[in-house]
């Protein structure tokens, strides 16, 4: 009892009554997820995990604990949802579907289109539109096969205002607010769903503070508080903000280089939000395709390391590569990433099966993202000469491609931008 009480004090808003905000947020999450997903093939999107109400405080001490004892995955716990909270008009997205859910999907924007769509990307060379998505200019991500979530705010870096994460079932049209807070600064609204959709981790950022929240059926808790983000120009080759759950759902990682204080790399246990591993410096991270292996590198360094919950920390790549925004595929153990030379010329690389396959792909390409287990999407870059504006010498020229890893072939794509793909690692 004593421990529970102490831990409850760390809850963001330590209220225990059903009408108060933390519980309400949790309830809202359940409602939203259940409401928007209750008619989908994935079943109710209610949090399937019940965990201890423990809420660890933020740890700024770089005390790595590289070896993790086996952590039990969160156990399912069905919860009865109350009524959902409507998405405000300024934050709303709407969907119009003409097809049915597909086995491989992505939310993407086609060349020349103004709005994103949900597309069947089983064959990435010729994506087939399933649903049209309209509304504000948000960046939706796929939570499940049928549901998207997105972040919207009325705030800005200097003035905090209402921020929301909302969810929409593309096929039923049901939408709901999942979380609400006051924010609008850098990294505000960055969020990630656990593979089983039972947990949502998100960032709440305003001019004075940055907080990492963990939302579940147990409520909304602040699991880490970081220093505010000073205004500065981000270095696209070094700065990154990455928040994601491990494919096995046991951990979630926040790796960012923007806050003025706090550990840049934090791996936390999903079950209670406690710190499992941290480093004061770290950037450009990604979980592997399976298990709980987090790849990362130090800022301004080409040394890529991997933290494994069972094996600890080791060097991942034999070659020193200052990789940029690595992304793992869902299940086949490939990581794609960009490397720029000193002149800024980008190339896409593949790191497959623990280094047994992969290498640099041809042509000047950047920003790879997996559309399915064998095909990835990337953009061509060209020297912009006098038309660079406020930007580097090499910039995307509008041409995009898909690359088939199995066929080792590149195909021009009619996709202009990919926001998210399903299934994600851990969802296959």
């Amino acid at each position: 009892m004593c421990d529970l009480r102490q831990e409850r004090k760390r809850v963001t808003r330590p209220y225990v009554f059903s009408l108060q905000s933390t519980v309400r947020k949790g309830v809202v999450l359940l409602v939203a997820l259940a409401a928007v997903a209750s008619c989908t093939a994935n079943g109710p999107l209610a949090p399937q995990a019940r965990h201890s109400p423990a809420s660890p405080t933020a740890s700024s001490s770089p005390t790595p604990t590289p070896l993790e004892s086996p952590t039990p995955s969160p156990s399912p716990s069905p919860i009865t949802p109350p009524s959902p909270v409507a998405v405000p008009a300024w934050a709303a997205l709407h969907a119009s579907c003409a097809g049915s859910p597909a086995a491989q999907e992505a939310v993407l924007k086609l060349q020349g289109a103004a709005n994103p769509v949900l597309a069947d990307v089983s064959n990435a060379k010729s994506p087939r539109t399933v649903c049209g998505i309209s509304g504000g200019s948000f960046q939706p991500q796929l939570v499940t096969q049928t549901m998207i979530s997105w972040y919207a705010t009325q705030g800005n870096p200097t003035t905090a205002a209402t921020s929301v994460i909302a969810a929409l079932d593309l096929f039923t049209g049901g939408s709901s607010v999942v979380a609400t807070w006051s924010g609008g600064s850098i990294m505000d609204g960055l969020h990630a769903w656990s593979p089983d959709r039972g947990f949502l981790a998100y960032m709440a950022s305003n001019a004075s503070s940055v907080e990492l929240h963990l939302l579940s059926g147990g409520g909304d808790r602040v699991v880490a508080s970081l220093g505010s983000v000073p205004g500065r120009g981000p270095d696209p080759n070094q700065d990154d903000a990455y928040l994601a759950f491990s494919p096995d759902g046991a951990y979630f990682a926040l790796v960012q280089t923007f806050t003025s204080s706090g550990d840049q790399l934090q791996v936390r246990r999903t079950i209670d939000g406690s710190l499992a591993f941290s480093l004061s410096k770290g950037t450009m991270a990604t979980w592997g395709s399976t298990g709980s292996r987090l790849y990362y590198r130090m800022p301004n360094s080409g040394l890529v390391q991997v933290w494994d919950s069972k094996a600890g920390v080791s060097q991942a790549l034999a070659k020193q590569l200052s990789w940029i925004r690595p992304r793992a595929d869902a299940g086949d153990d490939n990581i794609a990433f960009t490397v720029r030379d000193t002149a800024g010329t980008p190339h896409v690389w593949l790191y497959g099966h623990g280094g047994r396959s992969g290498g640099q792909l041809p042509n000047v390409r950047s920003s790879p993202i997996w559309l399915n287990s064998t095909e990835l999407f990337y953009a061509e870059e060209a020297v912009c000469s006098t038309n660079c504006g406020i930007g580097p010498a090499w910039q995307p020229d509008g041409k995009t491609f898909t690359f088939d890893v199995a066929a080792q072939a590149e195909t021009a794509s009619k996709i202009s931008q990919v926001y998210s793909a399903w299934p994600r690692p851990g969802q296959v």
Binding site: G231, N237, D239, N300, C388
Partner: protein
């Protein structure tokens, strides 16, 4: 404390004779008979003794009067002298009181001056401990996106970064490491100065602004910072950059 024995200062009772007899009864008085007048001739001579006595009396009286007059005279003179002294002393007292007031007034003024001087001294001491110096205030032109203005932030000083421009400018505070990367970015062709100086890592940036005003404290204990100004097109930057000596007690910023 002791108590004096009773009777020590009290007279012993003395028996008094009391008249207890009845007064004699009043008797009629006999009529007065005037004595027979005897006419006798005056003496021919006054006795010597009586004359000499009178003279003595007169002399004594005269002497007494004279002595008294002299005494009164002396007293008068003395009183006059005393009165004059009193008047003189009163005058002196009044004069001294006036001078005292003047001196008090002067003292008050001096005290006020001293207080003001001490305040100025404290301010001067503070200024000497934390001197404030303007290090850049001349307008400078940035011709295009390949140009940049840079200046180091002196160690142990607070930087008061203030500037305006005639068009959008970008201002960043970089570490020397970031500065080196930015220069490499430019020289390798990865970007223009207007890009590389702000997107190769920065401590703080103000991008595409026409004014900036900020107090930067991380150099108070660190010699590792530079300020950089760039613009996408021609602008004139009017800086008003100053520094205040304010050494930190320990290393700050990236030096910590």
């Amino acid at each position: 404390m002791t108590t004096e024995a009773p009777g020590g200062a009290i007279m012993a009772a003395t028996e008094m004779e009391h008249i207890t007899s009845e007064p004699a009864s009043l008797q009629p008085v006999d009529p007065y008979e005037a004595p027979a007048v005897h006419t006798a001739a005056p003496p021919a001579r006054v006795p010597l003794f009586q004359t000499r006595e009178r003279r003595w009396w007169a002399t004594a009286l005269t002497s007494t009067v004279l002595i008294s007059a002299l005494g009164v005279g002396f007293l008068y003179i003395d009183d006059s002298s005393n009165q004059a002294s009193i008047r003189s002393l009163t005058t002196q007292n009044e004069s001294l009181t006036g001078r005292n007031l003047i001196l008090q007034n002067q003292l008050d003024k001096t005290q006020a001056n001293l207080t003001a001087t001490l305040g100025e001294l404290a301010q001067t001491k503070a200024d000497l401990e934390h001197p404030h110096v303007v290090i850049s205030n001349a307008p400078i032109k940035i011709k295009d996106r390949t140009w940049y203005l840079a200046g180091s932030v002196p160690d142990t000083f607070t930087l008061h970064l203030q500037a305006t421009s005639t068009g959008p400018m970008s201002v960043s505070i970089l570490t020397l490491e970031q500065w080196a990367k930015a220069v490499q970015c430019i020289t390798s062709g990865a970007g223009s100065a207007n890009y590389c100086m702000h997107y190769s890592g920065a401590v703080m940036s103000w991008l595409s602004v026409t004014s900036v005003k900020y107090d930067f404290h991380l150099a108070e204990g660190c010699a590792d910072y530079v300020t950089v100004f760039t613009a996408a097109s021609a602008v004139t930057v009017t800086p008003n950059i100053s520094v205040t000596y304010n050494p930190a007690s320990k290393a700050t910023g990236v030096c910590a």
